[in-house]
């Protein structure tokens, strides 16, 4: 239960929500298009980084350039590296005007009831959206507890030792081509440290301290939860976010220490021109719990497989994955769990919806390593196809190196039942609304894991995405 202080703060948030503008920075810088070592130096100069970080970026760029494009998943041939700005200061986004924002995005804001003040930010023509008062009062409370919740840049500047101890230890640049790219050009993101035993009831929301940079293309986030501590971090928001940049590649590294707990929720709703290629991974130590709640609604192509490496006895991993693929979208989502210690347990639940020719895939890895005696894992994938032109695939990879383990995998593909539709329609509900109601019910097990206000918005969003999909 939330404390009295929490509740007051939450009430305040609703009031502050509509007016939370702050003065934009007036400093602008935009690197030229394309990527080479000069660009890396420019980024590092701009950020005033220590030399070790500059060297790290250069090495990462070499790794990026040496790795081939992955060809085992969705089609990425539409990415043109020479036509991308790899670093833009946030204020440059304000160079665009509200008039340039596509009509359908504006209309979507209307339907979702997005407050005026937020719209410009979400449409990519406002530099910052900070709910100043509330965020600051929460921040003071957190600071008293010793919690660090700052931008990744401030993390490096003000907590360099802690930063350096963990940065890139969970996901090294060699992990995959896009992790290498992010390592070379990262910008924006959060740096979080929670001291031993500190349990935060209110979710930490990136949304409160977000600016165009941290919503941006190459976000880098590090979260360290010390022993016995617990947090819920929320990234993104349900409203669609318009961005004309076509490539997004984030890296999220999380360390959950002994008996600590972390839940990381993502609501990804990028506009449909974006390639969203994210690497996110957590290390869970003895008795720790890591939960990823991952919803992918937007983007053109998403490749994202949140991972948990269970390194200590009794660690627990949970991955809830939701993918909604509409026209022209390919959501390649899923999860990876690696059992590397005895008596660890994991659960992956994936729900995908495809409509109007959209394609969603579940891609998952379940690995039980040598010595992970007594481990248990359960994987459940349910796909819902709304029409015959849409597609759903499942790619489950299972590797088990021990005998005394319990591993279960279930998968189902279904269509909306005619009897369900008729039943709802016989109660006066239109076919369109009945369909979105059934879809809403399908994803309910996942949505109910989100905080109330997000759950409400999520249901609206699903309804909106369903509109026009009937007949």
């Amino acid at each position: 239960m939330a404390t009295e202080v929490d509740r007051k703060a939450l009430e305040g948030i609703k009031d502050e929500y509509e007016y939370g503008w702050s003065t934009p920075e007036d400093y602008t810088f935009k690197a030229r298009k394309g990527l080479d070592h000069d660009i890396i130096d420019q980024i590092s100069d701009m950020k005033g980084e220590p030399d070790w970080m500059r060297q790290f970026r250069h090495k990462a760029l070499n790794i990026f350039l040496s790795k081939p494009m992955p060809n085992w998943g969705p089609d990425l041939s539409g990415i043109d590296y020479d036509d991308i700005y790899f670093y833009i200061k946030p204020t440059d986004h304000t160079g665009e005007s509200w008039d340039d924002v596509p009509e359908n995005i504006k209309e979507t804001f209307d339907r979702l009831g997005v407050p005026e003040a937020e719209r410009k930010f979400l449409a990519g023509v406002g530099a910052q959206y900070e709910s100043e008062m509330v965020y600051h009062s929460l921040r003071e409370e957190w600071e008293k507890l010793g919690v660090v919740f700052v931008s990744i840049e401030d993390g490096l500047k003000h907590h360099e030792d802690l930063f350096r101890e963990y940065f890139s230890t969970v996901i090294p640049p060699t992990d995959n081509k896009f992790a290498a790219l992010n390592s070379a050009v990262w910008s924006g993101g959060s740096f979080i440290y929670v001291p031993p035993g500190v349990k935060l009831e209110i979710p930490l929301q990136a949304y409160f301290r977000i600016n165009a940079e941290s919503m941006g293309q190459f976000e880098r986030t590090i979260i360290i939860i010390d022993e016995g501590a617990s947090i819920h971090y929320i990234e993104g928001c349900t409203a669609p976010i318009y961005d004309k940049d076509s490539l997004h590649s984030g890296v999220i590294e999380i360390i959950v220490k002994k008996n600590a707990r972390c839940r990381y929720s993502t609501i990804q709703n990028w506009s449909n021109n974006v390639y969203n290629l994210v690497t996110q991974r957590a290390l869970a130590y003895e008795g720790a719990t890591m939960e990823w709640v991952d919803s992918n609604l937007g983007s053109k192509v998403t490749m994202k497989y949140p991972a948990v490496f269970m390194l200590g006895e009794g660690a627990h991993a949970e991955i809830l994955s939701l993918a909604f693929a509409g026209k022209g979208q390919h959501q390649d989502a899923g999860g990876k769990v690696v059992h590397a210690a005895p008596n660890t347990s994991s659960k992956i639940i994936s729900k995908s919806i495809s409509k109007n020719g959209g394609r969603s895939s579940y891609r998952g890895l379940l690995k039980v390593g040598k010595g992970a005696h007594g481990s248990k894992s359960q994987v459940v994938c349910d796909a819902l196809l709304l029409d015959s032109e849409s597609r759903s695939d499942t790619y489950p990879y299972i590797e088990v190196a021990e005998d005394d383990v319990e591993v279960g995998h279930e998968a189902s593909v279904s269509k909306i039942g005619e009897e369900q539709l008729f039943y709802l329609m016989s109660r006066g509900i239109s076919e369109e609304e009945a369909t979105s109601m059934i879809v809403g019910g399908f994803i309910e097990p996942l949505v109910k894991e989100l905080p109330m206000e997000y759950a409400v918005e999520m249901n609206r969003l699903i309804q909106l995405q369903m509109e026009g999909s009937v007949g």
């Binding site: 005619e418 239109s430 019910g441």
Partner: protein, 270 residues
């Protein structure tokens, strides 16, 4: 004004097979009409056809609402007129709570959506703003749950998901009470009920009839008619109504079985 539903010489086919072979029937508000017949005689087919199930094809004849054909209307539009079908086998909708479902249905049937659309001047409104206000809805729902003897925990449960047979039937009565139809077709609302549940369901129907609802009570057995007193009883046999009369017909059927109808029919045809 009293609303009237008329079925005239109705022929209905399912996947090319004719099931209804010329049904004539009139139902009006405040009236209870029991329709009895053996399994497979086409009773459920008729209820689906009236409610507007797309698989049930009307090959000839008509269904009229106050004299106007409703054959061109979808199921949701028929519900908005005031027609309700209590299902023999209510369908489960996992993940959708009874309360949320019912709020959407009530908002639609009572015209909240149309009004919201009209107020927006044809433009788009924020999703969810076209629903019956939450507080009002909740008050009415709780009051009706109490009046119709439905446990308040129903509101949060997923619609018919994991409900027992009896719970489903009680849920149908609650939906009916909230949607306030002019005419309800109750398709074997008594089947699978123990005596207590039968009493609760019957009392619910009686209350709604007292409020002015007309009911077509489709049943296999005379049992429910001990609780809900019909004004008329019709016997359904091989796709048509073969006999209509007062409550005495139900007693005859109970004593002599459907064989009696067969005999009469055979004699009439001879």
């Amino acid at each position: 004004m009293t609303d009237i539903l008329e079925v005239t010489d109705l022929h209905v086919a399912v996947e090319g097979t004719e099931i209804l072979k010329g049904v004539d029937l009139t139902l009006q508000q405040g009236e209870v009409h029991a329709l009895m017949g053996p399994n497979g005689s086409g009773k459920s087919t008729m209820s689906y056809a009236i409610a507007g199930h797309p698989h049930y094809e009307v090959t000839s004849g008509d269904i009229l609402w106050n004299g106007e054909s409703i054959l061109g209307l979808d199921a949701d539009e028929r519900a908005k007129l005031g027609i309700f079908l209590a299902f023999q086998y209510p369908v489960a909708i996992p993940g959708v709570s009874f309360a949320n479902f019912l709020r959407a249905a009530v908002s639609s049937v009572r015209g909240y959506k149309e009004r919201a659309r009209a107020e927006a001047g044809g433009g788009n409104k924020v999703i969810g703003s076209e629903l019956m206000p939450m507080r009002e809805f909740r008050q009415e729902l709780l009051a009706k749950m109490d009046r119709f003897d439905v446990d308040r925990t129903f509101a949060r449960r997923y619609l018919n998901d994991g409900f027992s047979g009896g719970e489903k039937k009680r849920g149908e009565v609650l939906q009916m009470a909230m949607l306030e139809p002019k005419i309800a077709i109750l398709d074997e609302s008594d089947s699978g009920l123990d005596i207590d549940a039968l009493r609760i369901v019957s009392e619910g129907i009686n209350k709604l009839v007292a409020d002015g609802m007309g009911a077509l009570l489709i049943t296999h057995y005379q049992r429910i008619l001990n609780y809900v007193k019909p004004d008329k009883v019709s016997v359904f046999y091989q796709g048509r109504i073969v006999k209509t009369g007062g409550p005495e017909i139900a007693h005859m059927l109970d004593e002599r079985g459907y064989a009696w109808v067969e005999e009469e029919l055979a004699q009439a045809l001879a």
